[in-house]
Symmetry: C2
Subunit: 206 residues, 2 copies
DNA sequence: CATAAAATCCCTCAAAAGCGGGATGCAGCA
DNA sequence: TGCTGCATCCCGCTTTTGAGGGATTTTATG
């Protein structure tokens, strides 16, 4: 019995690349692809693949959210996240939302096959590069987790507001904003606001 | 005589996708691919394609720079930029550096063929989506152009250095750094440093 | 209900950024 | 030769931040 495979990715070249790579493989049945989260969900209503390769960047909603929806509706489907290298900060979120693995888009056919095989056995698969970056960046230890308020303050800082302006916007005192700011600097290990924004952008927090 | 094609992209799936799409086409000869700027330049020493598809994000250096080098060394090679949709701010730079066209990674084979055909005739080709985004975002009017010094200062600001630290690093006075900082704020229409870094990141300047 | 985490607020003081000027030297160019 | 853009440097003054604290109230959660 062949393993059925479905792909969600809005980049046609990537879809075509995987199809081409998988065509040569025994035991893999390509049952289709979608370029949006909506059309993916529509397809799944009629048929579910064993393994679902899912890009993190989709035009209508993020793969993170789609992953959660899919796993809620069809827990038996194994989801493998797919993205380019600079989006590794999403890996943890993806796994938190039920994904079984993570592939970088420079993976070759053997790595894809290995990923499919691993997740079909109920284990987790990470691209070697992904895994190493996770280790390097300390993501495995959980990337700095910001509270709701801290995220709000961070967002407004990045928009160029000062503490007092942020205070007005959030109906709190400037001192409080300052405290949040200090905590942000500490959590993200930033020397000052400029570095804070840079690091936050690098971690896709903005 | 078939048109020779070479690809630089660090995502194997994309390379494979294009190869698969092009294999079915008449008159296209795939002469190879590279995953880094360095290996691309090495290949070009021995052989030059008619058309060079080039990803903008490469591991060792940006496609923007590579494009300029390639066009300097081999002006007869037509370069077509390749990237995903959120990197459109690079399109103008790519074209400035001598690229003849721009394809988004969700292009299908007909669009790729059309692009190759168009640039081989010496004309410019933009993906419809790319063209529309260029119009929308006013990129065609040219995004703010920074001087060499301003770029250096911007980089160091984003790393969290203060004016005096930057001054030490660049062997200039803190006052000068301050002037560059003022000019950066003005050019990028930023209210303060935080917004400056955010905007710079949005424009892929960092 | 106890406890921890989050959110709130306050203080001081030094350092840095931001604002609004002005000014000089130098290179490329019409 | 005069113009323009770039890079360099300086002044005074205000605002904002960053680095130390300390403290209280809310809100989850076992």
């Amino acid at each position: 019995m062949a393993i059925t495979l479905f792909i969600v990715d809005d980049h046609y070249m990537v879809v075509e690349g995987i199809r081409s790579l998988m065509q040569a493989e025994q035991g893999i049945e390509w049952i289709g692809h979608a370029s949006t989260a909506a059309s993916c969900l529509a397809f799944l209503q009629s048929r579910q693949p064993d393994v679902l390769l899912m890009d993190i960047n989709l035009p209508d909603q993020s793969g993170i959210d789609l992953c959660q929806q899919v796993k809620t509706l069809y827990p038996q489907v194994f989801v493998i996240g797919l993205s380019t290298f600079n989006q590794v900060s999403f890996i943890q979120k993806m796994l938190d939302n039920g994904a079984s693995g993570y592939l970088l888009k420079n993976a070759g056919s053997s790595e894809i096959m290995q990923a499919i095989d691993t997740v079909m056995h109920g284990r987790q698969f990470l691209s070697i590069e992904a895994a190493s970056v996770v280790r390097q960046s300390g993501l495995a230890a959980g990337q700095p987790v910001l509270t709701r308020r801290e995220k709000e303050v961070l967002q407004l800082i990045a928009e160029g507001l000062t503490n007092t302006e942020i205070a007005d916007r959030l109906y709190i005192s400037a001192s409080t904003v300052d405290t949040h700011r200090k905590n942000l600097l500490q959590k993200l290990q930033a020397k000052n606001t400029a570095a804070l924004v840079k690091i936050a952008m690098d971690h896709q927090m903005l």
